[in-house]
Amino acid sequence: MVYQQTKHLHYQILKLTGEVDLHNSPQVRKQLLAILKNGSSVLVDFSSLSYIDSSGIATLVEAFNLAKNSKLLLTIVGAVGAPLQVLELTNLNKVFHMVDSLDDIKG
């Protein structure tokens, strides 16, 4: 897994590439929580993500909750394939704010 942090409008983008699993999800957690604690809303770009396990999903749940309590937004962008199926399996697709692409994000 590699991640890349960029900016889009007033959002921080965290782009995840490859696989998020037990070994690297703590890195994603650290990064996500740091962005939110800095007071910025975040777009988590799933478009190059091939797999995410439950530790990655749990990290998103924790970050989503922090965003909500801090009146910030956490949006998942471009989830397809297995990562989307995992979100559907856990019903989190009905909880998280999800969009198809960055074009759907309005300032």
């Binding site: 396990d53 439950s54 749990a58 399996l89």
Partner: protein, 267 residues
């Protein structure tokens, strides 16, 4: 040295004994990644023994067993332990520790094998409880759960590490029909979303036909047939048809052997 074959499970010429009794007689089994394989057979057919060999809980008399490329018969303890971290097992009874809460039981593998933050572990545990329709049961003791709940809690623990390979012993046994169907659906979803390979040992036909990509039928320690659901249903093997139509076995009686067994207790 034998090179690792390509299926996630490859068994060749497996022979197994309990004492002098031969339980498995030259069993071959090949399961591909992402497949749901059901192993069927009546009581005493050897299906649970086969499962125990796949889990490396028994040593075979002869034959080879490769699981995810690991020669489980000859490998060292460390490699086996690594393999077990990628493998989930749901036992018939749930097999939870009675002195721990349901939640503590489920998170045990994560606490033992990972360095994840406690917040992450707690949420992962609750996600699995939600998935098994056990939300809110985290703080109960196993003795406070029904049989079906224990089984689902056992499954939650089996999949807490998102294993690549899940072994499931008798998922539907002792469950009411609705819960049994829900559990079958769940197995299908887990495979699709997590790309798990699932090996289910069962004698429940309805469940087997619903979830299996392929079914292996064991009779008296031998593989009678391995095939798709349609192939099994259309098999002309009388024993398979008896199993499907729930007809009792019409065994031929060897009079001499029978009397010998009754009078001496030996085969």
């Amino acid at each position: 040295m034998t090179s690792a074959p390509q299926g996630i499970i490859e068994v060749k010429g497996l022979v197994s004994h309990y004492g002098k009794r031969k339980i498995l007689k030259n069993v071959d089994l090949s399961v591909q990644k992402g497949e749901i394989r059901v192993i069927m057979g009546g009581s005493g057919s050897g299906k649970s023994t086969l499962l125990n060999h796949l889990l490396a809980l028994l040593k075979p008399t002869s034959g080879s067993i490769f699981v995810d490329g690991v020669d489980v018969v000859n490998t060292d303890r460390k490699t086996l332990s690594k393999l077990r971290q990628k493998t989930g097992v749901a036992f018939q009874s749930g097999a939870l520790f009675s002195s721990m809460t349901v939640g503590e039981n489920i998170k045990l593998p994560l606490k033992r094998h990972t360095r994840l933050d406690d917040h992450t572990i707690d949420i992962m545990t609750r996600l699995k409880l939600e998935l098994m329709n056990l939300a809110g049961f985290e703080d109960l003791m196993p003795s406070e759960l029904s049989g079906g709940m224990l089984k689902r809690a056992g499954l939650a623990r089996a999949v807490i590490m998102d294993p690549k390979l899940l072994f499931f012993d008798e998922p539907s046994a002792g469950l009411d029909p609705v819960t049994a169907v829900e559990l079958d659906e769940l197995i299908l979803k887990l495979r699709d979303a997590m790309n798990m390979t699932v090996v289910v040992v069962t004698h429940e036909l309805e469940s087997a036909f619903k979830i299996a990509d392929k079914i292996t039928v064991l009779f008296d320690g031998e593989i009678a047939i391995t095939g798709t659901v349609d192939e099994i249903k259309n098999s002309r093997d009388e024993r398979i048809q008896n199993l499907i139509n729930r007809r009792p076995r019409n065994e031929t009686v060897d009079a001499e052997q029978y009397i010998k067994r009754l009078t001496t207790g030996k085969n």
